[in-house]
């Protein structure tokens, strides 16, 4: 197992390098630059700005400079937020995004799996349709619509929860719900489908025929195999949450790094975009690794050497 992990981590490095190279050159392809303003910048000022940010050097040299900085943990200065370096901003925002994302995925897993299992056990009954119906909300309504509706109902009309900000546990409730809905839907369906499949297998039939109490049948025999597809889904699930967080953070005024990505792209804040991209890349690689490990722990057919 350890060797497997080492190998995976080793394989992640070329992946990261490709991500870095790709994003570096790609964002510079977009038209416009980081220094444009509606009040025109005098040419001397523009020249001075370019010098200050090393943008007057050939592209390859800039790239080398960036890699060197990365090796030292320096992501470069933010082009737009001049008082901060990208590392500062990411260090401040990432724990918050992480917190939000983790809560969302945990909620999605708990609620999604519960709904899915419930629906599978009462297949084609009213319970099944209701549970499936609830989970469908996440699939049918975009999260940037759900969020304002939630703030309207719970923040303004019922006045139970705050409308914006971050820091107090009551701030967490609405954004986490809005963010997790789409994933709840997908996880519920996955769980339901795989649970149904497992319930119809021979070994479950055998267990029941043997007279095992239903509870033991469920816990010992069906849960593990039913969970496998859900675990495999974790990687894309987290990617989905990252995507959703971009909008949710903006709507609720949460100081995470999701907003930096879109704004960075629109502002042509090159270093910011690259910093966030690399961060997300690392995160996704890591999550895939963890998901595969957990999968390996759960599935006796898989042996990692």
């Amino acid at each position: 197992m350890l060797r497997y992990i080492m190998r995976r981590l080793g394989g992640a490095i070329p992946t990261l390098l490709i991500i870095i190279t790709f994003s570096f050159f790609m964002i510079r392809l977009a038209p416009g630059g980081p220094f444009a303003r509606e009040r025109k910048v005098p040419p001397e000022v523009e020249a001075a700005l370019e010098r200050a940010y090393h943008m007057d050097e050939p592209l390859v040299q800039q790239f080398g400079r960036y890699l060197w900085g990365l090796a030292h943990g320096d992501f470069g200065p933010s082009f737009k937020y001049k008082d901060y370096t990208v590392a500062d901003l990411i260090a401040q925002g990432f724990p918050i995004s992480l917190q939000l994302g983790l809560m969302a995925i945990v909620l999605a897993l708990v609620v999604g799996m519960s709904l899915g299992i419930l629906a599978a056990f009462r297949q084609n009954s009213a319970v099944d349709y209701t549970a499936t119906g609830i989970s469908m909300i996440g699939l049918a309504v975009p999260n940037f619509v759900v969020a304002p509706v939630l703030t309207l109902v719970f923040g303004l009309i019922l006045k139970w929860l705050p409308v914006g900000g971050w820091g107090h546990p009551s701030n967490y409730v609405l954004p986490v719900i809005a963010l997790s809905l789409a994933q709840i839907a997908i996880i519920a369906r996955l769980t339901r489908a795989s649970m149904i499949e497992v319930l119809n297998t021979n070994f479950v039939r055998t267990a029941r025929a043997k007279g095992l109490p239903e509870r033991i049948t469920i816990i010992r025999h069906t849960l593990r195999p039913a969970l496998l597809p859900v675990i495999s889904y974790l990687g894309p699930g987290i990617a989905g949450i990252i995507t959703g967080s971009v909008v949710i953070e903006q709507i609720f005024g949460i100081p995470g790094i999701g907003r930096y990505f879109v704004q960075g792209s629109l502002n042509r804040d090159y270093t910011m975009v690259m910093g966030v991209t690399i961060f997300y890349g690392v995160l996704i690689i890591f999550c895939n690794l963890v998901a595969d490990i957990i999968y390996g722990l759960l599935d006796p057919k898989i042996r990692y050497d």
């Binding site: 977009a30 038209p31 416009g32 630059g33 444009a36 303003r37 509606e38 009040r39 025109k40 910048v41 005098p42 000022v45 001075a48 700005l49 200050a52 937020y81 001049k82 008082d83 901060y84 370096t85 500062d88 401040q92 925002g93 724990p95 918050i96 992480l98 917190q99 983790l102 945990v106 304002p148 703030t151 309207l152 705050p162 409308v163 914006g164 900000g165 971050w166 820091g167 107090h168 009551s170 701030n171 010992r220 593990r224 903006q250 709507i251 609720f252 005024g253 949460i254 100081p255 995470g256 907003r259 930096y260 629109l266 502002n267 042509r268 963890v290 490990i293 957990i294 722990l297 759960l298």
Partner: protein, 575 residues
């Protein structure tokens, strides 16, 4: 089975571990609260009744938007648009940054609540007879927040830094009024002592101008001229604007800056007028989503907003009218025409037809729901001493205007079989979209086929700079309360700033000549005449004037309307 348990345990440990780590590890807030405790215990302000014990819960409540301030503490919570790009006065360009900077620093001159020019760090000044030399006398009791006195040398340093090309300041050209500034910022002159700003002694500053500029004290209010301390900048370099490092001479000091979340400022006990400052704390929030900002205001989480979404105006007028401030602001919203392109470039009549066909009242009142005022001139009204010009057809009813527009188009050979085609460019924004759609429709009524294109900000700026458009949405906000800030945009040698490509020697003569006018009245008349020439040439289509748009909580006192929309918290209080 054991492996299942193992897997669940692994996941649970990872998840719980992260959440615990996050909650225990808040170094920024903890470090910021340490100085806060000492600040608050050393202040002896007349108005507040807070106890030191109250600062402990205050530490956590700074993070929360929803929590109410600690008992007795007066806090002003303001929506401030977007995250500031920088707090360095020499490098910032926007109103968002200025709002914060005006709390932390004070320039030679400053703003009264109603916008009038009042002495700031300088308590009085004299002008020489030829109007070229100003002598400023700084206050004896002016101090920085660390207790050191404010000196003239600080202002000299700030101005030299502003024009230094290495600082790469976008707004350096605003200093061009001062002798030597233009050469220095272009790098043609390297000796900064040649700048016409000299510290005669610690409290006396002498500034020499290129030509007489009667509104110069008003120019000095601009955030680019705020003083900064050489010692701090040299010591902290890039980090000098961070809380704990930033030393300012304003009514408040910077306590905490959580990017994308909030900026917290507390009262500066060393401010010379601290006795009259009634607020203990300011919290400024970046509020980009206007609809959400409005919701937060309604929930009681904000005392003042940055803007007001136009869709909500009808509801506001019906239910919250006395909390809404919406008055004239020195800004013009217009469509600039690319004068280097055919056929609009050569045919003034066609441009006039375009202008005639627009129903500005409908735009301002219905499309924008009253969030703007109809605009018929380039320089907006409200500058004292200046006679606003208007387009010649302002008093003609809209139906007649449309008829005249149709006639002009026909005479030029356009008709249903040969419609005039053009493209309207605007940058991605809800409001601009609405205006473009409405104008497109209005032009359709007179037979013009317009397409609308939107580009995101950077690309849009590029397109305008390169003159690759037919008609583009544009806006200009005054830097200071004088018509020149609008009129000098279209001087033929204004370079890239004159993106219409306007060139009229008569106009140039009047605008440039105004600085040699004998009296202020004559000067204003020359500028007014210049604007008349400009409007008659129809180089652009003024559409609307901006309004200040804020929701102001009834609990907030001391916020007054002024047409530059700068409101300093030192005059305010909350109940």
């Amino acid at each position: 089975m054991k492996r299942l348990i193992a897997a669940v345990v692994v996941v649970a440990v990872v998840v719980v571990g992260f959440i615990l780590y996050q909650n225990s590890n808040k170094p920024a807030e903890q470090a910021a609260t340490a100085p806060a405790t000492t600040n608050e215990t050393t202040t002896a302000p007349a108005a507040t009744t807070e106890q030191p014990a109250a600062t402990a819960p205050a530490a956590t409540t700074t993070q929360t938007a929803a929590a109410t301030p600690a008992a007795g503490e007066k806090v002003f919570r303001r929506g401030n648009g977007a995250e500031p790009e920088t707090l360095d006065p020499a490098k910032s360009t926007g109103v968002i940054e200025s709002n914060i900077q005006y709390e932390l620093f004070e320039g030679l001159t400053s703003y009264a609540p109603n916008g009038e020019l009042v002495p700031g760090a300088a308590e009085k000044w004299e002008v020489s007879d030829d109007g070229l030399t100003y002598t400023f006398h700084l206050r004896a009791n002016g101090k920085w927040s660390n207790g050191e006195p404010v000196t003239a040398a600080d202002f000299v340093y700030a101005m030299q830094r502003l024009v230094n090309p290495e600082t790469a300041s976008d707004y350096a050209p605003i200093a061009d009024f001062i002798v030597g500034a233009e050469k220095l910022r272009k790098g043609e002159e390297k000796d900064f002592s040649k700048l016409g700003a000299v510290a005669v002694d610690d409290k006396t500053l002498k500034i020499t101008l290129v030509k007489p500029t009667p509104f110069f004290p008003a120019v000095l209010r601009h955030s680019s001229f705020l003083p900064v301390r050489k010692a701090d900048i040299e010591k902290f370099k890039q980090d000098w604007t961070k809380p704990g490092n930033l030393v300012g001479n304003g009514a408040f000091t910077l306590k905490e800056w959580v990017p994308q979340s909030q900026i917290t400022m507390v009262k500066n006990p060393n401010f010379y007028d601290a006795a009259n400052v009634k607020l203990d704390k300011l919290i400024y929030y970046p509020t980009e989503d206007l609809a959400e900002e409005f919701k937060r205001y309604r929930a009681g989480e904000l005392d003042a907003t940055y803007e007001v979404p136009s869709e909500q105006l009808k509801t506001i007028m019906e239910t919250m009218k006395d909390e809404y401030e919406g008055k004239a602001y020195l800004g013009t919203y217009y469509y600039v025409i690319n004068l280097t392109r055919e056929p609009l470039g050569k045919q003034k009549d066609l441009r006039k037809a375009l202008s005639l066909a627009v129903d500005r009242e409908a735009l301002a009142d219905q499309v924008m729901q009253g969030n703007y005022l109809p605009g018929y001139s380039w320089v907006p009204p409200g500058i004292p001493g200046y006679t606003t010009q208007t387009l010649s057809f302002k008093d003609t009813p809209q139906a007649d205007r449309v008829a005249e527009a149709k006639k002009i188009l026909e005479a030029a050979g356009y008709g249903p079989n040969n419609p005039l085609k053009l493209d309207i460019l605007y940058n991605t924004h809800e409001g601009h979209k609405k205006v473009a759609i409405a104008v497109q429709n209005m032009w359709k009524q007179v037979g013009i086929e317009a397409t609308i294109t939107n580009q995101e900000w950077q690309v849009y700026l590029d397109t305008r700079d390169n003159k690759q458009y037919d008609v583009a949405r544009a806006a200009w906000i005054a830097d200071y309360a004088d018509p020149l800030t609008f009129l000098d945009l279209f001087l033929s040698d204004a370079g890239v700033r004159n993106d219409a490509g306007y060139n009229n020697p008569e106009y140039d003569k009047l605008v440039k000549g105004s600085s040699s006018a004998a009296t202020p009245e004559e000067r204003m008349k020359m500028l007014s005449d210049a604007e008349k020439i400009f409007l008659d040439d129809e180089p652009l289509i003024p559409l609307m004037y901006y309004k200040t748009k804020h929701m102001i909580s009834k609990k907030l006192k001391g916020w007054e309307y002024n047409n530059l929309d700068f409101h300093l918290a030192r005059y305010m209080s909350v109940e």
